[in-house]
């Protein structure tokens, strides 16, 4: 009984947390807004913290020589520090799930049939949690709070750590550090060599010129001279006076230049290697910030023609081309398009671009039906909300495209054959359809979306008086999936959700749209 009570008392809070959906959801929400770089709230939090860091540091620097109002001091010292403290605590909370660790340890003990040592389990998990405190990010965060302690003025120097916090919140700075950390081995090797040469150079000048050079009074002076010389700064306050000392100087200068060149080349090569990746990350981020964008799979002839006919899309930059052939991607980039060498049939690739709040349309234009269907299934498995438009080469595969979930299938060969046939059999129809398809100014086929804000809602077709604007009302669609009413009667009442399909002069159509506050698809 006692054991059971011990277990109940110890485990109950952790079991409660593990079972609480509300707790899980709350933590997941905070994790998203603090950790997910694609999250809009996270971006705003970052902006807010950057402003707070910069303003508080500016106030601290101004305060060194000038008096500042009390309220400004309260802002820089207490308000900013309080916010940083809250951020620190939240990050500490999000670092890991202590209750999960405790339950895992408890279950392990149960499985192997030994009596769980609750205190050991608790302290082991607590230590894991506390390990957050010694992570570089946490140390910087903690030091950035310290200037709030006013009695010790020396703590003000920690205001510099507020600047270091920028690394965490500024993407560019963070990426810079990331690139350098990728070359940790090379840079550390260089650092060791650098320290070695500084020490050897310092010792050499100290022993060679100790009695000869009045400026070298201690080993610190010698090391200082060595450091200043090797970095090619050369203040000139200490300089060698003996021949052996000058020889040491020459060697150190050559080694310094070599090391600086080597370090520069390591950093530059690291950046050039990462540049491609950084550029892709920027494109991904840019797209995810858009409410609507296009993912074009394949850079073949059809894509080229499509892009040539959509200059507005190119100007808006709300698209990306994915192709698994590097030479085609290079060709696209050279033509001024935004293309990435990646395989759209891979789940992770499309997931990079997926954003729950954006309206995404995917064009499957690879030129290979099997590939297009695979890409469609990949997109639809990511989210059914992604609209997929595919170009099918083989009409026999039309049903497979539909089954895969394609929203619209375009059949280039059939379309061309149909147009070619009508040009032979019905030349007048050909002229008309060709003009409509090409959106000639006088014959623009367009659509009006009716919602609660539309002024023509609840009005009859007759009341719309479309004839006055030389607009032909072809049909009304009762929503996207709804029925099509061809040539609606004059007493038909236009309702919310209706889509009016009209033909008219482009200018007249746009004028009528603005006049009656009518929506368009995008």
């Amino acid at each position: 009984m006692a054991k059971s009570r011990e277990k109940t008392i110890f485990m109950s809070p952790f079991l409660y947390l593990a079972r609480s959906k509300k707790y899980r959801d709350t933590k997941a929400y905070f994790r998203t807004i603090f950790k997910d770089p694609t999250n809009k709230v996270k971006q705003w939090i970052d902006y807010f913290l950057i402003v707070l860091i910069l303003s508080s540091v500016a106030i601290f620097i101004y305060e060194v020589k000038n008096p500042i109002p009390v309220w400004l001091e309260y802002y820089a010292v207490y308000f900013a520090s309080a916010i940083f403290l809250i951020e620190y605590m939240v990050n500490f909370w999000l670092y890991n799930d202590i209750h999960k660790d405790i339950l895992t340890e408890y279950n392990k003990a149960k499985i192997i049939g030994i009596k769980p040592n609750y205190y050991r389990i608790f302290f082991k998990s607590l230590l894991k949690k506390l390990s957050y405190i010694i992570t570089p990010v946490a140390i910087i965060d903690l030091l950035a709070i310290l200037p709030a302690y006013r009695p010790l003025r020396i703590l003000r120097i920690f205001v510099l750590f507020r600047f270091l916090k920028l690394l965490k919140h500024s993407k560019s700075l963070y990426q810079f550090v990331e690139v350098l950390s990728d070359r940790k081995f090379e840079l550390l090797t260089l650092l060791v060599l650098f320290v070695f040469v500084v020490v050897v150079g310092g010792l050499a000048i100290y022993t060679l010129e100790d009695m000869e050079n009045e400026n070298i009074k201690s080993l610190i002076d010698a090391l200082y001279w060595s450091f200043i010389t090797i970095t090619t700064v050369g203040y000139g306050d200490i300089s060698p006076v003996t021949i052996p000392g000058k020889v040491v100087s020459l060697v150190i200068i050559i080694l310094g230049i070599t090391m600086i060149s080597f370090a520069t080349s390591v950093i530059v090569s690291a950046f050039s290697e990462k540049l491609h990746e950084l550029k892709e990350d920027r494109i991904t981020e840019h797209l995810q910030s858009k409410s609507e964008f296009l993912v074009i799979c394949g850079y073949g002839q059809l894509t080229k023609v499509f892009l040539q006919k959509n200059r507005e899309l190119i100007d808006s930059n709300e698209y990306i081309i994915l192709d698994n052939d590097a030479s085609r991607v290079q060709e696209a980039n050279l033509s001024g398009y935004r293309a990435i060498n990646d395989d759209a049939s891979r789940y992770e690739v499309l997931k990079r671009f997926y954003n729950n709040s954006s309206k995404i349309t995917l064009l499957a234009l690879t030129g290979d039906d099997v590939e297009n269907i695979y890409i469609t299934l990949n997109a639809k498995s990511l989210s059914r909300k992604i609209r997929v438009i595919a170009a099918a080469r083989d009409i026999k595969l039309y049903n497979k495209y539909v089954r895969a979930g394609v929203d619209r299938v375009v059949l280039p060969n059939e379309l061309a054959s149909s147009v070619l046939t009508s040009s032979i059999a019905y030349p007048t129809i050909f002229k008309a359809v060709n003009a409509i398809l090409s959106s000639k100014n006088v014959a623009t086929l367009d659509e009006y979306y009716i919602d609660n804000y539309s002024k023509i809602k609840d009005k009859s077709v007759q009341e719309l008086d479309l004839n006055r604007y030389n607009i032909v009302l072809f049909a009304i669609k009762k929503g996207f999936k709804g029925v099509l009413i061809f040539n609606p009667k004059s007493d038909y009442i236009v309702k919310d959700g209706d889509i009016l399909i009209v033909l008219g002069n482009k200018i007249a159509i746009e004028y009528f749209r603005e006049l009656h506050n009518l929506g368009s698809y995008s």
């Binding site: 379309l415 061309a416 007048t428 398809l437 030389n470 032909v472 399909i501 698809y521």
Partner: protein
């Protein structure tokens, strides 16, 4: 007009063109250069003949002088271009049609002598653009191609017997037949097709062509009622 059409090629494009044209009252003959494709067309029960596209005598033996028009629909762009050039050289007045998959090829085919070139990808590119920006109206338009909504475009050529001869378009009742008038070729104003959306009034005369949209039976009723 002999109503005889030659389709050169029976690959992806050729088959698609044949399928679309076979619905009409044309005599269609297929001309191919590869034995395997010839066999395939024979198996499909078509009127097919082998020829050598690099030999002018072989092309001459096809009897193109009695043909209404030819369509160069091989899957290979280079061969289509070469054939167009050869046919134009041999038959300066023959109506040649071609299929293209790029703006550059369209220009080259026209330079080689094609009278009309249908840009396959150009049309698809436009269609995809329409689907993207105007999904409902593009679906409506595509319905005419795949006959999904049962509506068609139909021409009505005005005859001497038609009671519409001499009438103004604005006085004609299309609504009773549930059809829409979208424009016409008004010979008084030239041979161009003029959309009703241009806002012009037209007097209908003999040989003018009206373009109507609706269900086929309704359009036929209208044509019958007005002496078509």
């Amino acid at each position: 007009m002999s109503n005889v059409i030659y389709i050169f090629g029976y690959g992806k494009f050729g088959k698609s063109v044949y399928k679309a044209l076979s619905k009409f009252d044309y005599t269609i003959k297929i001309k191919v250069v590869v034995q395997d494709i010839y066999n395939e067309a024979v198996n499909d029960g078509l009127d097919v003949e082998l020829y050598d596209m690099y030999d002018d005598e072989s092309i001459k033996s096809l009897g193109l002088e009695s043909v209404d028009r030819v369509i160069c629909a091989m899957d290979n762009n280079h061969k289509n271009l070469f054939l167009t050039l050869s046919i134009r050289e041999l038959y300066p007045k023959l109506y040649i049609m071609g299929l293209s998959n790029s703006i550059h090829l369209t220009d080259k085919l026209k330079m080689a002598g094609a009278n009309r070139v249908i840009d396959t990808y150009g049309l698809s590119g436009l269609m995809i653009k329409n689907v993207l920006l105007k999904p409902a109206s593009s679906e409506f338009l595509q319905g005419f191609i795949n006959n999904s909504h049962g509506l068609i475009f139909k021409e009505f050529t005005i005859t001497k017997e038609s009671d519409l001869d001499g009438k103004m378009v604005s006085t004609i009742d299309f609504d009773s037949y549930n059809i829409i008038f979208i424009g016409m070729v008004d010979l008084e104003k030239g041979k161009n097709f003029i959309f009703t959306t241009a806002g012009q009034e037209h007097k209908i005369d003999e040989d003018d062509i009206l373009l109507l949209v609706g269900k086929e039976e309704n359009i036929d009723k209208f044509i019958k009622a007005h002496g078509g």
